[in-house]
Amino acid sequence: MTLPSRLLVAISIALVISSIVADLYGARLESSYRNTIPVGPGTTLFLGVSSVTSSGKVSVEVEGASNMYYMRLTGDPYTLVQQFRALNLNVSASRPQLDLRAGVAYVVALIQASPAIVQALSLLGEVIPVVQAGGSTPVIEARLATGDNIIVIVTEASKPTVSVRVNYSVEGYSRLAPLQAAIVSATIILVVASIELLRRRGL
C-alpha cells in the first residue's frame, strides 16, 4: 500500500474506535453542582464556575445570602483564590472540583471578610451587585466561552448556611455518532481499496 493509503486506513481505524469510546465514556452536555456551606459572621463566600474546555450557559442560584455580587472573568479562578491569600486574607479553599466530561470546574472558598475583596476584584472587571426582589432566591445566568469564569461573592449571609446550586449546559458542541463514524471509515477504506486495486492493475 502507498503511504497515503496507509495513513487513511490508520485514520479510519482510529475514528471507529475513538467514536465508540466517546459514545461510552465521552462528553456530557449537562453538569450540576450543589453545596451547602456554613458561612459564619465575618466570612465571605467565594464561588467560581470555570468553563475549562467547553463553552455554555450557566445559571447560579444562591439561597441564604443577603448581600452578594458577581462578575465575569477570564483566567483560573483557583489562582484568584491564591492571590487573596497573598493579600494576607485568611482563605480556606476547597479543592477545585473538575467535571472533566462536561469541561467545567467549580471552586468554593471561604475568605475572611474584608472590603479589600470587592476592591481587588473591581480592578479585574466590573463587579455587579445582585438585587434580590421580595425575598426570592436570585438566579445569575451567563454564557461562558472557553476559559471564561463567573465569580459569585456572598459578603453577607441571612442564614447560618448558604446553599448554592449551579447548572451548566454545554453549547456549540457536536461530534459524529459511532454509526456515522463507521460509515465515514467504511467509505475511506472503500476509496483506499479502489485506488490500490486500480494502481496494482496499472490503470
Binding site: 496507509r6 485514520i11 462528553a27 469541561g103 472557553t146
Partner: protein, 252 residues
C-alpha cells in the same frame, strides 16, 4: 538543462529511497493509529468547543511520540546508514553534499513530523468537524507551531547522528537531549516565575513554541520575539548540520 533534470532525478531517487526507509511499515502505521486514537479520545471525552484547546490536547502527546520516533528512526536510522555504508553510496552520486544533507533533513525530519502530527488532527476534524470547522486557521497555526518544534528536535538529532556515527549512541543521546531540553524549558519557566525574572521566564516559555502560539491565539500575555526563538534555534541547528556535513563529515 538535461544535467539539471538528471540532478533533480537523482535527488528525487534519494528522497524516495530514504522516505521509504524511514516510514516503512509497520512502525509508522501502528504509531499513527495509536496517536490518532489517543488524540480523538482525549478530545471527545470532554466537550471541547475551542479549536485551540482541541489542537493542543491532540498534539501535545503526539509531539512527544514524534520526538521519540525521530530519535529512533531519524537519528539512529541515519547512523545505521553511515555504519552500513549506504550514506557513502549516496555521497558518490554527482550531487553536492549539502543537497544530500538537505534531502536527509526533509526525508528524516520534516516529512515524518508533518505526517505524524497531521494524523490526529485529521481524525479530530472528522470526528468534531461541525464543532471545529470555524477555527481551521487556528488549528493550522497550532499545527505549524508543533511542526516547528518537531523540526527543531529532529535537526538536533540529525546533528547528533552525523557527529557520533553510532546507531545506539545517537539514539540514546537524542532521547537524552530531548528530555534535557524539556527539563530546561520547565526549569527556566519555574525559576523565572519564582525569582520574579521576567526575561528568564519568557525564555523558558519561548523554548516551547506551541505554548507561545497558544498564548497568542488566546490573547494571553506574550512577546513577539518569543514566537521567533524556536524557528531561530532550528535555523541555527540546521546551518550547523549542513556546515558539518559539507566540511567536516567523513564517512566510516
Amino acid at each position: 538543462m538535461s544535467s539539471r533534470t538528471g540532478g533533480l532525478t537523482r535527488v528525487y531517487h534519494i528522497l524516495y529511497i530514504d522516505i521509504s526507509d524511514v516510514l516503512r511499515p509497520p512502525g509508522l502505521d501502528v504509531l499513527v493509529v495509536l496517536l490518532a486514537m489517543l488524540g480523538a479520545i482525549l478530545v471527545s471525552i470532554q466537550p471541547v468547543t475551542s479549536p485551540i484547546i482541541a489542537s493542543r490536547i491532540a498534539l501535545d502527546p503526539t509531539l512527544v511520540a514524534t520526538a521519540l520516533f525521530l530519535a529512533i528512526r531519524s537519528s539512529a536510522g541515519l547512523a545505521t546508514l553511515i555504519q552500513s555504508g549506504i550514506l557513502n553510496l549516496y555521497l558518490t552520486y554527482p550531487i553536492h553534499r549539502v543537497t544530500v544533507a538537505v534531502v536527509l533533513l526533509v526525508s528524516r525530519v520534516v516529512i515524518p513530523s508533518a505526517l505524524i502530527l497531521a494524523t490526529p488532527l485529521v481524525t479530530i476534524l472528522i470526528l468534531l468537524g461541525s464543532t471545529l470547522y470555524r477555527g481551521l486557521d487556528v488549528i493550522l497555526g497550532m499545527y505549524l507551531a508543533f511542526l516547528f518544534q518537531a523540526v527543531l528536535y529532529g535537526s538536533i538529532f540529525l546533528l547528533v547522528a552525523v557527529r557520533v556515527k553510532s546507531q545506539a549512541t545517537s539514539g540514546i543521546l537524542s532521547v537524552a537531549v530531548y528530555f534535557t531540553y524539556i527539563a530546561l524549558h520547565l526549569i527556566l519557566t519555574g525559576i523565572g516565575g519564582a525569582i520574579g525574572s521576567d526575561v528568564v521566564r519568557r525564555v523558558g516559555e519561548a523554548m516551547y513554541l506551541p505554548d507561545i502560539a497558544y498564548y497568542a491565539y488566546s490573547n494571553l500575555d506574550y512577546e513577539v520575539w518569543q514566537l521567533t526563538l524556536v524557528p531561530g534555534l532550528s535555523i541555527l541547528v540546521i546551518l550547523a548540520y549542513l556546515t558539518y556535513m559539507s566540511r567536516r563529515f567523513e564517512v566510516l
